[in-house]
Symmetry: C2
Subunit: 338 residues, 2 copies
DNA sequence: CTCGACGTCCGAAACGTTTTGGATCTTTCG
DNA sequence: CGAAAGATCCAAAACGTTTCGGACGTCGAG
């Protein structure tokens, strides 16, 4: 049904070997026969059987990405952009992208990774949203399997990663708020098992300390990265004896929820209370009020991730095995006027 | 380096055949040997080489999905949800998901499909966002390749699909607006080469006709499905001699843009002008004002799509080869109070 | 006792490629 | 003229699995 090398060989009267080598442009086949074979292959509608090639070459030309879907919804627009970046970056090298979804910390998460690795379904894996103590990375490193991580981890395992300097980003945001006169600044953190939560909290701490403000632990709460989580935690902060006049959240989605919670209490965001998010998802610029946020170029990060990974797969040396990008504070309405 | 059947065979002293059959639970192998082989396989950390299996079984257990990424951004949250649905639906059958991105109507789009089909990378393909005259579907049908489409097409080609009754949805929305007293209702349509644009426009037309309103072509404009497109087209509508008092858009993203455009002119959406979207993406409920929209359950649709596709791949009969789901009008603030 | 059935196992071929290690023939050059 | 060098080709093995067809021994029925 499908044209194979054997079919072409029979047709042109050469061996399978020669046909294969002709199509792969080896130079130990006569130029004329090469042209002939290529023409016939074209005419017969030949396309290489990618699976057979993979088996023989021990290379699938595919990278894997397991989306940590939190539940029914991949609520975070973040991941689609990351995915698009990874996919496009891979496509630039003629690599495909194999996607699975799995709830983070699900006991069968390990099986999903194992299937990709041991089944040799992919040549390398992109690990996103690193955890402080990340068994996924530990596993891949111990298997000697090519990986690239988006995010660091606490242990000093050596592996290639790309990360955004969340500490610096939050630090700048806090200092910006302090500059606006805020003294009680809340922080809605992502779950602390996530590495980037730690970095961002560090930035929060450092900024307070550098500016002689005391850390009030009541102002630091832990949300779940969803809009609903932001909403809930914001209410908790507003219920305090001395509520904060400004709040920084672990991602934009929680910022959206926090702004809603404030608005429901009749507060005007940007005047009565300032809110700053993290990510700069496309909607941040369009929410009412528009969201001041710490921008990280997610699509580009995705693209860089797959490019780095493919270099590793191909055995090329990486110019930089560990990259830290600087985020950028994007000032809009939700933080009030400067 | 990786454990193969041969390694196990050598270890237990049986043939590769027997090991294979034991692990696949054939009943022509002694129960005790079967247990022994399974245990040893487990101990040695055996995992089947998926690629080799695919080659032999002529089955990849993988479905393909090509995201029609419009440009740098997969701006539409829609696709991530669809993707998650497809991925989870497939995972339920132990199928993987291979994702590519390609700009719609890009000349090399065909190559992307061809690569998946002819390279036998996948067992079936999900085609989303059908076009009136869809060469992708024509191609897959002509190749006899398993496919499932999200959306119909104009020709009467027979292929399995799932679609949402956009005509009915828009029709109901228009009638709802008419019930609120609106007489000049604008329609920001997606590009007309998209099949769902046609259906939705049909619904718009039918509702007007059924209610004795005349169709004013100046009120129908064509946007590009992005926020910016909605913004631009809304301005165009508001610039008319007799601007509309209500506008329906082809998707939520355009509705967001349209609302912005109205707000920038000092109009209060929901009072001065009504806006209704289509999709009900997660953010529709959180935008200011919250968006009245025609809801289609995207995640569930994705899940159904891959489930139907996998049934087709397995050669099972589909209870229904063509399914039309009914959308639901979700009334929120942007359409004004009833 | 013989025959067929059954239970258990295995060799070899196959899936569609790529690669290794020559084979064969022609050309070139001392 | 002989040998080395070069050009062009190919058979066979390999990648890791599944499956086809049969082999071999044992056991129960006739």
């Amino acid at each position: 049904m499908n044209v194979t090398l054997k079919d072409i060989a029979r047709k042109v009267g050469y061996s399978v070997t020669t046909v294969s080598r002709a199509l792969n442009d080896y130079d130990d086949v006569n130029e004329e026969t090469k042209q002939l074979i290529k023409r016939v292959a074209q005419e017969m509608g030949y396309h290489p059987h990618v699976i057979a090639q993979s088996l023989q070459r021990r290379r699938t030309n595919t990278v894997g990405f397991i989306v940590p879907a939190t539940d029914r919804y991949l609520s975070d627009p973040y991941f689609l952009e990351l995915l698009a970046g990874i996919g496009d970056g891979a496509a630039g090298y003629d690599f495909d992208l194999l996607v699975s979804t799995c709830k983070p910390m699900d006991p069968k998460e390990h099986l999903v990774y194992e299937r990709m690795v041991k089944g040799r379904r992919v040549d390398g894996i992109v690990v996103a949203r690193t955890r402080c103590d990340d068994e996924r990375i530990a596993y891949l490193v111990s298997e000697g399997f090519p990986l690239i991580a988006f995010g660091r981890i606490t242990s000093d395992l050596d592996f290639p990663y790309l990360d955004v300097d969340g500490e610096k980003g939050v630090c700048e945001a806090v200092e910006y708020l302090i500059g606006l006169g805020h003294r009680r600044i809340g922080f809605i953190s992502p779950s602390m098992y996530l590495m980037f939560a730690k970095h961002r909290l560090d930035g929060y701490r450092r900024a307070l300390q550098d500016n002689g403000l005391e850390l009030d632990l009541a102002l630091v709460v832990e949300g779940n990265l969803t809009q609903a989580g932001g909403h809930q935690r914001m209410e908790q902060l507003l219920d305090l004896e001395e509520p904060p006049t400004a709040v920084i959240t672990g991602n934009d989605l929680m910022a959206f929820g926090a702004m809603e919670a404030a608005q429901e209490r009749g507060l005007v965001v940007g005047r009565d209370v300032a809110v700053i998010g993290f990510d700069d998802v496309p909607l941040a610029a369009h929410f009412r009020p528009t969201l001041t946020t710490i921008r990280q170029p997610i699509y580009d990060i995705g693209k860089m991730l797959s490019q780095m990974l493919i270099k590793i797969i191909k055995g090329e040396e990486l110019a930089e095995r560990q990259i830290i990008l600087q985020p950028e504070l994007v000032i809009r309405e939700s933080s009030g006027v400067g």
